[in-house]
């Protein structure tokens, strides 16, 4: 029983971070039908940005988000304007050209990190890194709780933007039907630029948060990229709530496998990659689709 509570608490805490990092991928896919492979590179860059701000200027990793968010937003808009916009747009599904282009961007970012920060393993150690507190009788690390709080807050802010502002409604309109949004007078090009900025900013935030919990190298981010894919495939691409549910599901699975089975921890990543493949193949319309709601608004995943 106590185990069960521990697993639920740990899953919930991990799910917050997963949702933040997945939403960055989901918003870009939703608006542009582009699979952003550079996401992994941006996660990594977010981690290093936080490290630099902490070691050079003594800025607390969580306060560094005040710098990371605007900088990464700008970087995302720049990526869109200089590269992504130049690709031919495909109306049906994601194009392989955009995938490969952003793959190239990921490689360049990785090399940039090697050049600036070398390949050494880095980590951020603050006064509270090793502290823990008790949640519902379960000992959890202070950074884990703080990461969850920041993730939850950023998702709430996002939800408010998406529901209450013109920008948010425009983003949702382009996601649902680009042509209809254009007819209704939405400037889809500008919305795409903003969406790319938001997606990149979310990846940057997720990277900063990951840096407080894990050690990282310039190669960091690939397994989190695959986890994000897994989540948005499970959850569908549209709603923040769906992404949150998918995140919880993946975190729960990982914790159950870690807690109840004897599968060695080194195989756990392999498990979530295989889950990705299973999810892609078994639920091409997302989990919600699997429960029959997709007949109303069919997602165009594969």
């Amino acid at each position: 029983m106590k185990d069960l509570v521990a697993i639920l608490v740990n899953s919930l805490l991990a799910a917050g971070l997963y949702a933040t990092m997945s939403y960055g991928l989901a918003v870009i896919y939703g608006v542009m039908r582009i699979i952003n492979l550079a996401h992994a590179g941006i996660l990594m860059l977010g981690a290093y940005a936080t490290l630099t701000l902490y070691s050079r200027f003594g800025l607390d990793p969580f306060l560094s988000l005040a710098v990371v968010i605007p900088v990464f937003f700008g970087f995302g808009v720049l990526l869109y304007l200089t590269m992504v916009r130049r690709l031919p747009r495909s109306s049906s599904g994601a194009s392989i050209e955009s995938l490969l282009l952003l793959f190239g961007v990921w490689l360049v970012l990785q090399n940039l990190a090697y050049a600036i920060w070398t390949g050494d393993t880095q980590s951020i150690l603050t006064g509270y890194t090793m502290k823990s507190l008790s949640v519902l009788g379960v000992r959890v690390g202070v950074p884990t709780v703080a990461v969850f709080a920041v993730s939850a807050a950023s998702l709430v802010v996002l939800q408010v933007i998406l529901r209450r502002t013109y920008l948010g409604r425009a983003i949702r309109a382009v996601t649902q039907n680009r042509d209809a949004a254009l007819i209704a007078g939405v400037n889809a090009d500008r919305i795409s630029a903003v969406a790319f900025g938001i997606g990149t900013a979310f990846a940057g935030v997720a990277g900063s948060l990951l840096a407080t919990m894990y050690a990282f190298t310039p190669d960091f981010g690939r397994s989190f990229l695959l986890k994000s894919f897994c989540i948005i495939v499970l959850a569908g691409m549209e709603s923040v709530a769906g992404v949150a549910a998918g995140s919880f599901l993946l975190a729960l699975l990982e914790n159950v496998v870690g807690g109840y089975t004897s599968i060695p921890t080194s195989f756990q990543d392999a498990l979530s990659f295989l889950l990705l493949v299973v999810a892609l193949v078994a639920f091409p319309h997302g989990l919600l689709g699997a429960f029959g709601r997709s007949s109303l608004r069919r997602r165009s995943i594969p």
Partner: protein
Amino acid sequence: MRRRARSLALGAASLALLLAAPSFLERGTLNDIWNVAFAVILASAWNLLGGFAGQISIGYSAFIGIGAYTTALLALKGVNPYATLPLAALLGAAFSFVVGLPTFRLRGPYFTIATIGVSEAVRVVATGVAFTGGSSGLRMPAGSFDFTRNYASMVILAVAVVSLSAWVKNSPFGRALAAIRQDIDAAESLGVHSARYKLLAHALSAAIVAVAGSLFAINFQYISPGSVFDFRLSLSIVLMPIVGGLGTVGGPVLGALLFGYLQIKLLSSPALRDSYLFIYGGMLIAVMLFEPKGLLGLFHRLRRAAGRAVSRPVPDAG
């Protein structure tokens, strides 16, 4: 017909020249040729599925690893390493079905992502299980090294794969793959059994790549999951045909020559070695933004432009 005779003669001549090379070239140069031949095999084999059928897989290092480990494990049991090549091909093809049967239901980028997932899973498992030697790897038994023989096998395989790819391109099989690449729904409605053709192309290219992996293990004498299941290996396999020209016969060869040359340069200069991701990524970005048909497409465009520049004055003269 004449064209076919000419390419046949070209293939035979280059094979003869390459096989005669050890008698007049020094060992270092032969090593470079070996490297380029390895790259040509990987690029042309990948192109059978990725180029002709348009199914971009970023997971081919799994097949190199399967080939390399088949050979290394059997050689350690006393089997002649060259006798293991057919089994390596068979196991590579078998694993291609394991990967392909579920993932070929996915289209375009979703297939690509699934292949990243599969190859990462394979790498993680290979590092974790005992028979691969874990992260410390395996050493081939002493006496299994024979450069002359390895060189000859590599060169023959390279010429054979390029010939195969030239044959496939103009065969009914190749036309079915092209139909799948251009419009899978239209191909299906015309009676092309797309899943079957994709699986076949995948198996063919996986078997070839696995054999190349075996030869790699014999030549380097030491393999580990970090070297043969490396994500970067999958990466350069994809980049060569894309940079050279996707879905053509010459493109992958061109890309392999370029990458083989680059790699030799990279290994000799530390400054370049530290920026290889930059070079790879930059090339990928440049190709996607400016010339999705790769170097071969660029050549054709330049030639057309040159042709126009030459032919323009003619009406004036007349």
